[in-house]
């Protein structure tokens, strides 16, 4: 009766691998049924799902995903084999979860390993590896599996030993282990008894030793040797057959030995003897290489084999003639190296991935992998972990798509919620207004025709919509404005065009016409919804008296009204006035809502920039010019075509918005309208390009949409109106947020040299970031044990300028922002309890990753420098580690930095410079003595010390500079491998590029930093260098300064540290002392 659906599993029962935990019949049937159609779409989809889940799993139990994935694979691919890819999945899982200590006692984790062991050539090695690594040593399953394997190979003694070990360790569940042990013992004793019986029956005990050995089957029997022809002895005995399955070649002596051993193992009396080897944990760092390779020949000399000279006429032999046939070469023999490409197997059956060259043991691969991770030499500059996280390779586009989808989903949800909320609000508003209107109407009725009264309610309804959409979408306002100025069809056209524009990935506030209708590209669904909304608006517009509508904006933009001819035509009925005024007030509130909303919208764009995806979660960044980098392409395109310039200029604000979520971004928005007329300054331009790396195709498409967008309203008065109004709106955040971040100012100040500061801020997220995370994971005890280390639950408090926030038990108020970028922020804060704006306060460094690197460096400095750890460093430093970031609090910090001095003073007196240089060298010397490279020395990182700020301070005791920021620092003791100077921010500066181009001397990075600071203090601009006779010199003319001789010497020394310093490692750290002496000496001379 149920034969139809029963058939499948029975028909292919030979192809179904039994599972320990059994199979789900429905899955099995499905899998087997699908096999026939050979379309695994569903399975492929599910697999894809797992693959992406592995990559984007955000929970705290990654093992769970893998566990489910593996179980699913087992169930879905009953026949195992290549399709299931189970060994590969297991291998990946093992690699991915490698060294996750928390899982070591997890039975799932052990299961993973044991399953993986089945794919290995030598599971025994794996088991002892697990044992040595303490993986699953508390679980009975390990010992049971291990012993089973040994038992299957006949080493009962060892198996027993494993059981003993497990029992000794009290592996859980103990009763199961004991039961297995009992069963094992029963089996063994039964077998022994049987063996004894047989032996007694057949040969008798006295014949045991002389029993004739048997030959192994298929063995070579040809005689060998010259004088004495001997047949090779390769015999196998009965007992040997039982114990050794796969080793057939053994000589008779060992065979006898093993025979006797076979019985000795189970002799109760000798079992307790010292002969039993003790299971000693092997000190393995990595899984062992497979030893049991089959068919391996030991290497021997080839030349010892002589050619036999059998006959005398060998000399007559004809030399080899060329064969008259061409040897057939199989096509596959010259297989081309294929570029690995991702092929959907359900689509294309023809192409297949190239098979691996050699059969390699997966265990060995895992081992290699572990070794690789131990000594990581390569820096991956893209999110390799994401691309290769699962079994299948994900393309970057897929990852991007996944991120995009996630965001879109989230956005949609939020949007839907917001819309629902607004709808309610809107409804209420409408009702309210309707009530009021009724009252008004009652008053107005004597003056107006009844038809008009009827008409007056739709505008009201629309008003509600306009208000709500303005409030929720922000940009609706200008859009509506422009719409109202156009005829209906152009509006529609515009709406369509604006949609086009917004779909381009690089959205920026395009000021022309409908494209003000800004939207992040992260939510096309929303766009559709919004487009619908806007269409609704449009649809509602026609019945509306345009004049009525315009009166709304009368107050806010009077000039606009003057431009519009149609509005003059319709003089407003006086009766409408009160209504109109009320509306405009509504609009004003809406407008106030607008700018931050707009910013939010823009911030929504950011995560799609390639920084996040291609470079792997904001970590790594390619610093050097790279031919692949589309930035260069864009730059080139910019140079090549002049019209392109304007486009680029327009685009700038977008990345600027996105770069700093917290900054609320003012200068950019201010400059936005200006950009359309003025060429943008180089610094901002670069920054914008660097932040946005888009593929050339994308760029091209952008250009298209943009130009089409602008062609709709080329410089008409209409667009100018919208421009004006938008400018107005965009000014508002500026007023709200007067505190502009310093680096932003620097950009405009320093033009060409902006890279030093902003480049560091924006483009360079430390390449060592990932590594740091690893270094500090798990946190070193020195860190966590420190009394100043506070592990906080929850997330990092939001820190905004002039706002209060809580850190530890104190509440602080931020008084100043030194610099901010996506990862790091540096604030100056005072406790709220002491509100007076003191010169001294707290410096708070916020890092958006939970890696307290600065704190670590500070502690290391303290430890390594001992007594030398003085006021040059932050002595009262505490760390608050949150789940999503960390904050480092430095006490007793002066408000001003060296940068302030440089900016504030026109000319700094030489004495001060000398003092600063002296201290600078001192600080750096100490850093280097502690084998720490700062990596990003700039005037901003040096807080002024008490010696400068406090006139009453003791000159001798205090230091002029204090350094607290170690964002880019390098601990050479830990990170000696990646000490290439050109990965530091400073190496990106023009002078840095020059100076550090060929250098591999990490300390030099800081020297360049010092040179730059000194140069800044002397001449007010960044150092510029040239090379002469292999010696670096500064371009600036020194002669006008007083101590030119001294400065020349100093620069000569600092800049050429690399050329002159070909010394031993131990001396490398000592360079500053000389410079210091020199400075001290010369300083007195001046």
């Amino acid at each position: 009766m149920s034969q139809e659906w029963n058939d499948e599993w029975e028909l292919s029962k030979e192809n179904v691998q039994p599972l320990r935990q059994g199979r789900v019949m429905s899955t099995l049937q499905e899998a087997l049924a699908q096999q026939e159609t050979s379309i695994h779409t569903a399975a492929q989809l599910r697999k894809q799902e797992f693959e992406s889940e592995i990559r984007f799993y955000s929970g705290d139990d990654p093992l769970d995903v893998w566990d489910r994935y593996i179980k699913w694979t087992e169930q879905t691919f009953p026949q195992g084999g290549k399709e299931s890819n189970l060994p590969a999945v297991l291998e990946r899982a093992v690699k991915a979860l490698n060294e996750q200590q928390r899982y070591y006692k997890d039975p799932r984790y052990l299961n993973l390993w044991l399953k993986f062991g089945n794919c290995c050539n030598e599971p025994l090695d794996l088991y002892s590896y697990l044992h040595s690594q303490e993986i699953g040593t508390t679980l009975a399953l390990l010992y049971i599996t291990w012993a089973e394997e040994l038992e299957a190979r006949g080493s009962f003694k060892k198996a027993d030993l494993i059981f003993q070990e497990g029992l000794q360790r009290k592996a859980e569940p103990l009763d199961k282990l004991q039961a297995h042990h009992r069963q094992f013992q029963a089996r063994v004793s039964r077998q022994t008894l049987l063996g004894l019986e047989e032996a007694a029956d057949e040969k008798g005990p006295d014949l045991l030793g002389t029993a004739e050995p048997q030959r192994s089957s298929l063995a070579d029997l040809k005689g060998r040797g010259k004088k004495k022809v001997l047949a090779p002895i390769s015999r196998v005995g009965d007992a040997l057959k039982a114990t050794n399955r796969n080793r057939s070649l053994q000589n008779p002596t060992s065979q006898q030995l093993s025979n006797s051993l076979h019985f000795a193992v189970f002799d109760e009396n000798s079992a307790s003897g010292p002969a039993i080897p003790v299971l000693t944990p092997q000190p393995w760092a990595a899984p062992p290489a497979p030893k049991a390779k089959e068919n391996e020949l030991s290497a021997g000399p080839w030349n010892s084999v002589r050619r036999p000279h059998s006959s005398a006429n060998s000399g007559m032999e004809v030399p080899c003639t060329l064969p008259n046939f061409t040897p057939y070469v199989e096509e596959s023999a010259q297989q081309q190296v294929m570029t690995p490409c991702k092929i959907e197997p359900s689509i294309n059956h023809v192409l297949s991935a190239r098979k691996p060259e050699k059969e390699e043991d997966p265990l060995q691969r895992v081992q290699n992998h572990q070794q690789d991770t131990q000594e990581k030499k390569e820096m991956v500059m893209y999110c390799k972990d994401k691309v290769y996280a699962g079994v299948e390779e994900f393309s970057l586009e897929e990852i991007r798509a996944e991120i995009y989808r996630k965001q879109a989903k989230k956005k949609t949800e939020e949007e839907m919620q917001a819309i629902a909320q607004k709808k309610e609000e809107m409804q209420r508003k409408i009702e309210e207004l309707e009530k009021k209107l009724k009252k008004d109407d009652k008053r107005q009725q004597p003056h107006e025709q009844p038809a008009e009264t009827r008409e007056s309610s739709p505008p009201l309804g629309l008003q509600g919509i306009a208000f709500s959409s303005a409030a929720e979408l922000g940009e609706k306002q200008p859009h509506l404005q422009s719409e109202s100025q156009l005829s209906e069809d152009t509006q529609l056209h515009k709406a369509a065009c604006s949609k086009k524009v917004t779909q381009s990935p690089d959205v920026c506030p395009d000021m022309q016409g409908g494209s003000v209708f800004l939207d992040s590209e992260g939510e096309q669904e929303d766009q559709r919804a919004e487009a619908n909304l806007s269409k609704k608006d449009v649809a509602l517009l026609p019945p509306l008296d345009p004049a009525t509508f315009f009166s709304i904006f009368d107050e806010s933009s009077t000039s606009a009204n003057q431009n519009i001819s149609c509005s003059t035509g319709h003089t407003q009925k006086s009766a409408r006035r009160p209504l109109a005024i009320r509306k405009s007030s509504d609009c004003i509130t809406a407008k106030e809502n607008l700018p931050p909303e707009a910013c939010d919208e823009l911030n929504g764009i950011e995560p799609l920039t390639e920084d996040a995806i291609v470079t792997g979660s904001y970590k790594n960044k390619t610093f050097c010019a790279n031919p692949e980098d589309t930035c260069d392409f864009v730059r080139a395109a910019h140079l090549a075509s002049t019209p392109f310039h304007g486009v680029v200029a327009q685009r700038i604000p977008a990345p600027a918005y996105s770069e700093s979520a917290l900054k609320e971004d003012c200068p950019e928005s201010k400059s936005t309208p200006l950009n359309q007329q003025m060429p943008i300054c180089e610094g901002t331009y670069n920054e914008a390009l660097c932040a946005k790396k888009l593929s050339p195709i994308m760029e091209a498409s952008q250009e298209d949409t943009r130009s089409s967008g602008s062609s709709v309203s080329p410089g008409s008065s209409l667009s100018s109106v919208t421009q004006i109004s938008t400018i107005k709106y965009l000014h508002i955040p500026e007023k709200l947020e007067l505190a502009q971040s310093l680096p932003a100012e620097m950009v405009t100040d320093s033009g060409g040299i902006s890279e030093n500061v902003t480049g560091d801020d924006i483009t360079q997220f430390l390449r060592g970031d990932e590594q740091r995370k690893k270094l500090l994971d798990p946190m070193p005890e020195s860190l966590t044990a420190s009394p100043d280390f506070h592990l906080e639950n929850g997330s990092l408090p939001v820190m905004v300028f002039e706002k209060e926030f809580e850190l530890g038990s104190e509440t602080y108020c931020i008084k100043r922002e030194y610099w901010t970028n996506e990862e790091y922020k540096m604030f100056f804060a005072v406790p709220v309890n002491f509100p007076q704006l003191d010169a001294k306060g707290f410096a708070i460094k916020v890092y958006s990753q939970p890696v307290p690197w600065d704190f670590y460096i500070t502690l290391q400095l303290q430890e390594r420098l001992n007594t030398d750890f003085d006021q040059s460093f932050s002595e009262n430093c505490s760390c608050f580690l949150y789940q999503n970031g960390c904050a480092i609090l430095h006490k007793d910090i002066n408000r001003f930095t060296l940068g302030d001095i440089i900016r504030g003073c026109k000319a700094i007196t030489e004495e001060v410079i000398i003092l600063v240089v002296y201290n600078l060298l001192g600080v750096v010397e100490k850093l280097h003595k502690a084998e720490i490279i700062h990596g990003d020395l700039s005037p901003e990182v040096f807080f002024l010390g008490d010696r400068i700020c406090d006139p009453f301070a003791n000159d001798e005791m205090t230091s002029a500079l204090k350094i607290a920021d170690f964002s880019h620092s390098l601990d050479l003791r830990l990170q000696s491998r990646i000490s290439l100077p050109n990965s530091f921010p400073i190496a990106q500066t023009p002078y840095g590029q020059q100076l550090l181009a060929k250098s591999s001397f990490p300390y030099q990075v800081d020297l360049v930093g010092i040179a730059d600071i000194v140069h800044l203090m002397l001449f007010g601009d960044h150092v510029q260098v040239y090379q002469e006779n292999f010696t670096w010199k500064i371009s600036q003319n020194m002669s006008k300064t007083v101590g030119s001789d001294f400065w020349n010497k100093l620069f000569g020394r600092i800049l050429n540290a690399d050329g002159t310093q070909r010394r031993g490692d131990e001396e490398k750290a000592r360079w500053p002392q000389e410079a210091l002496l020199c400075v001290a000496f010369l300083g007195r001379g001046i």
Partner: protein, 206 residues
Amino acid sequence: MAKQIGRDQQGITLRGSAEIVAEFFSYGINSILYQRGIYPPETFTRVQKYGLTLLVTTDPELKNYLNNVVEQMKEWLYKCIVQRLVVVISSIENNEVLERWQFDIECDKAAKDESTPREKSQKAIQDEIRSVIRQITATVTFLPLLETACAFDLLIYTDKDLAVPEKWEESGPQFIANSEEVRLRSFTTTIHKVNSMVAYKKDSFP
């Protein structure tokens, strides 16, 4: 046994049918016990039956027990008062039921009064039985491994009015809490129809 001679020609009588079904149970239970490793494999011996090589226990006690049950079954089958035979496999350690082999028997009670045998060749019946036994063998493809030592129990569902014979006791159904059920083939002698099914403990599958 005398009936065997002319069975092919004569068709199926109630008594013959009861015998065939009881014999099937005997071999079926033996097969299950062997396949599922309830008793050590060396205590089984091979016999040719239904065109298959089947394994039958040599353990005297077990043999005796099974014979008793089968004889009892035969009687009940003849009376058409048995509804179901269940082989319950449970862990010795914690008595947890791990597997449940269920053979539902549909008796055609009308056959009791009939005198003429039904038309069905013995070969056809044997073929059907063979495929059932083959399926029992094939179930290893999906059944979970029985990791602990297990014991088995035989439950027989009869009509309510039956007096419980000596050495039998009443029992619960012994269901498996979270189980996956797989229906196997069935066979019929036209008088008795046997539907087979196996239920096993479901693991935490994805």
